[in-house]
């Protein structure tokens, strides 16, 4: 086995194991901590895919933003979920649905003719191209500005919902 296969397996097991701990957590704060571990594992997978920018964004938006927000939400609503309360609703049928979905997905993935190795090496300066494409009217200008509108909505709406009354 080459080093990249070993690293992939290590980080994949880390990400999946931590994700399982998230959905089965008894104490929700621990769930949030495992969520961060899972995100970190996926960030390492991005490094294996040779896109450090996505790994950085994973740390920056997911861990630094979303996970922090989740932890704050947990600490604000702390009292309502005592650690020994029942946390799952009907785990058996949900498990059957999830496993069936996973089976179908794996079957589809394995039946597709997918490449074993990348067709070409990553290009130098891909990030600069991305930056230029984001403001290019023929490229991703519309999504770029829509993201700005979306963030405006997030800022105003969420502060409206959470304001002191």
């Amino acid at each position: 086995m080459s080093l990249s296969v070993v690293l992939f397996l290590v980080f994949a097991v880390l990400a999946i194991g931590a994700a399982i701990r998230v959905v089965f957590c008894h104490r929700i704060f621990h769930g949030a901590m495992w969520l961060i571990v899972s995100f970190f594992g996926v960030a390492a997978i991005y490094m294996l895919l040779e896109s450090p920018f996505l790994a950085g964004i994973q740390l920056f938006i997911y861990i630094g933003g979303v996970a922090v927000l989740t932890v704050i939400a947990i600490m604000v609503t702390k009292r309502v979920m005592a650690p020994n309360q029942r946390t799952l609703n009907d785990p058996v049928s949900a498990g059957i649905v999830a496993l069936a979905l996973f089976g179908v997905m794996v079957w589809m993935i394995l039946s597709l003719p997918l490449p074993m190795a990348p067709t070409a090496p990553v290009i130098e300066g891909g990030l600069e191209l991305l930056g230029a494409a984001l403001v290019d009217p023929q490229g991703f200008l519309l999504p770029f500005e829509v993201v700005s509108v979306m963030m405006l909505v997030v800022l105003v709406a969420s502060l409206y919902l959470g304001r002191e009354r």
């Binding site: 933003g65 922090v68 927000l69 704050i72 600069e128 930056g131 500005e145 700005s148 969420s158 502060l159």
Partner: protein, 118 residues
């Protein structure tokens, strides 16, 4: 030739070692004589009363929300700033629009007083 990303991983490992090593040394060297009084929470000498995990004002949460909006904005500006030298003037105007919309939102919530600590 070692891949540069492998070096980042190596350095993170070294950083983790530097984080763990002092604790291990201290654990080996330090005396271990726990007692009930010693293990109580330091809350000004009194035994802790009520629920220890107090709830916080949702106000703290508002600033977290505002942070996420600007966080995402900044993440988009990184590739833009990288490509800045090859961009024309209209691309800068687009970025001004991009940031300006969120700036407008900031001014709005400011005027509404939702950023004021109560």
């Amino acid at each position: 030739m070692i891949h540069p990303y492998a070096l980042v991983g190596l350095f993170l490992l070294v950083a983790a070692i530097f984080g763990v090593a002092p604790q291990l040394i201290a654990w080996y060297l330090s005396p271990k004589k726990p007692s009930h009084r010693k293990l109580q929470a330091y809350e000004s000498g009194n035994p802790t009363f009520g629920e220890t995990w107090i709830e916080f004002k949702p106000q703290y949460y508002l600033f977290g929300l505002a942070f996420v909006a600007f966080d995402v904005e900044a993440a988009f500006l990184f590739p833009w700033a990288l490509a800045y030298h090859q961009l024309a003037l209209y691309a800068v105007v687009e970025a001004i629009l991009f940031v300006g919309l969120l700036g407008f939102g900031l001014i709005y919530v400011w005027r509404k007083g939702w950023l004021t600590w109560m």
